[in-house]
């Protein structure tokens, strides 16, 4: 449970968020989610460590990007 999965509307937004986090020195990983009902299918998630979740969300929201959901499991 030390990883959280940030859900975005498309892979482009997930990659934009990942780039923002990496530029600030935070690690984030692009992964396909198995829980397709979370998005209606074909979704990607950004996997981040739980201990940086709040900061990550703040950075991403600060750039005007919308996180659709945050999941415990992909």
């Amino acid at each position: 449970m030390d990883t959280k999965y940030l859900i975005f509307s498309s892979v482009t937004y997930a990659l934009r968020a990942m780039t923002l986090l990496k530029r600030r020195g935070f690690d984030a990983r692009l992964e396909k989610i198995k829980n397709i009902s979370a998005l209606g299918g074909c979704g990607y998630a950004l996997a981040v460590k739980y201990n940086i979740l709040d900061t990550a969300v703040e950075i991403i929201n600060g750039e005007g990007l919308r996180i659709i959901d945050i999941l415990d499991n992909k």
Binding site: T12, R16, T19, G40, G41
Partner: protein, 380 residues
């Protein structure tokens, strides 16, 4: 056979930089379908495509990579922007230097029975005259302007920033065709008013054919003209999602997008100023040499232009001149260049003209070889 001299860069640039060729080759080994799957090849592709969106933003000073939509060429991008932004009963203004990629979709819309109409204005004169003609053409019904930043026939650069200011003031949507000048002159999207700017990836941006893109302004919500799978909300039968996927149905051309990324890197490594300076110098050399040949007519010389030279040998069909040059291993393009409005305005609609378009890979020797052949042919 003499060495190949390529002067048809306005059609597509040649040769391609080595890093572009190598990257395309590598992409065929490493890329899966982006934005679809979770395996390594698909994720690699998705990251490569996104990196290109960022490279485009960095190169054109824009802060919204999600508003960069990949297409197969500028024509596709222009169709997407025009049909995605037009409404019933709109009046459209275009210049008389527009390519058929603008004229034909708009002429088709005019015939669609939706009350859409279009007007043209003369953009052949100096910047003040162009602006005056543009302002005169605008009416209360004008909702959209589609303007080339640079003519593919004459190479003339239009006063596009000023046109943007006028459209902003009058709250008119504005689409630019940047096919001929991106990668040759600086384009700062952060300071320019636009609704959409349409680009070719394979011309002066040094990518490969089958690659284009459209950048939409952040407040613009275009309708999609092609629907299908885009990796977003697959459960819905209707096209949903935000840009860019909303307009990128079907698999995008990943090798071409990677080539475009590398093409931009190439331009950045050479330097836009150096490219522009070298091409302008060669263009001036060619123009000056052709003007000294009796029986040769050089058209539409302008101060502010990209390195395209349009000419004819008096009394010779442009296609005959191009065929002769081709037999000497010199590549140019003759005819109407898919821009009948411009050739009507120039008085060359019946015979077309010969277009030599220069890139930073050309040399003074290339220019001199073309001049010598034209000199010989003009004496026949």
């Amino acid at each position: 056979m003499s060495r190949l001299i390529y002067l048809d860069n306005a059609a597509t640039s040649y040769p391609k930089p080595k890093n572009v060729i190598n990257a395309v080759n590598e992409s065929l080994f490493r890329c899966g379908n982006p934005g679809r799957s979770g395996h390594e090849l698909s994720l690699y592709s998705a990251k490569a495509v996104y990196s290109c969106r960022e490279a485009i933003c960095s190169f054109f000073n824009f802060n919204h990579p999600e508003n960069v939509v990949f297409t197969y060429n500028t024509t596709y991008a222009l169709n997407m922007a025009i049909k995605g932004l037009i409404n019933d009963k709109d009046e459209i203004i275009i210049s008389n230097l527009e390519h058929n990629s603008v004229l034909r979709p708009i002429a088709e819309l005019e015939k669609s029975g939706r009350g859409i109409s279009y007007k043209t204005f003369d953009a052949l004169g100096n910047d003040d005259a162009v602006i005056q003609n543009f302002e005169k053409a605008i009416s209360d019904k004008t909702r959209l302007c589609v303007i080339t930043m640079c003519s593919n026939v004459t190479g003339k650069i239009l006063p596009f920033a000023k046109i943007g200011e006028i459209c902003k003031k009058k709250r008119i949507k504005l689409i630019f065709d940047a096919a001929q000048c991106a990668g040759f002159i600086p384009i700062d999207l952060s300071s320019l008013y636009f609704s959409a700017v349409c680009f070719a990836g394979h011309k002066s941006l040094c990518g490969i054919m089958g690659t284009g893109f459209c950048v939409f302004a952040p407040d613009i919500v275009p309708k999609s003209i092609i629907q299908g799978g885009n990796g977003v909300e697959s459960i819905s039968p209707l096209q949903t999602g935000l840009l860019p996927e909303r307009l990128e149905s079907g698999t995008v051309g990943v090798p071409g997008i990677i080539a475009l990324y590398e093409g931009i890197r190439h331009i950045q490594s050479v330097g836009l100023d150096e490219i522009s300076e070298k091409c302008s110098r060669l263009e001036a050399r060619l123009t000056s040499a052709l003007m000294q040949i009796e029986n040769v007519n050089v058209y539409a010389r302008a101060k502010n232009k990209v390195s395209t030279v349009l000419f004819n040998i008096n009394g010779a069909a442009s296609e005959d001149t191009a065929a002769f040059l081709s037999s000497k291993n010199i590549c140019v393009r003759a005819g109407l260049h898919c821009s009948p409005l411009a050739h009507k305005a120039l008085g060359t609609i019946d015979m077309g003209a010969v277009r030599a378009s220069i890139s930073h890979f050309n040399t003074g020797e290339d220019i001199d070889a073309l001049t010598q052949e034209i000199q010989m042919l003009s004496k026949r």
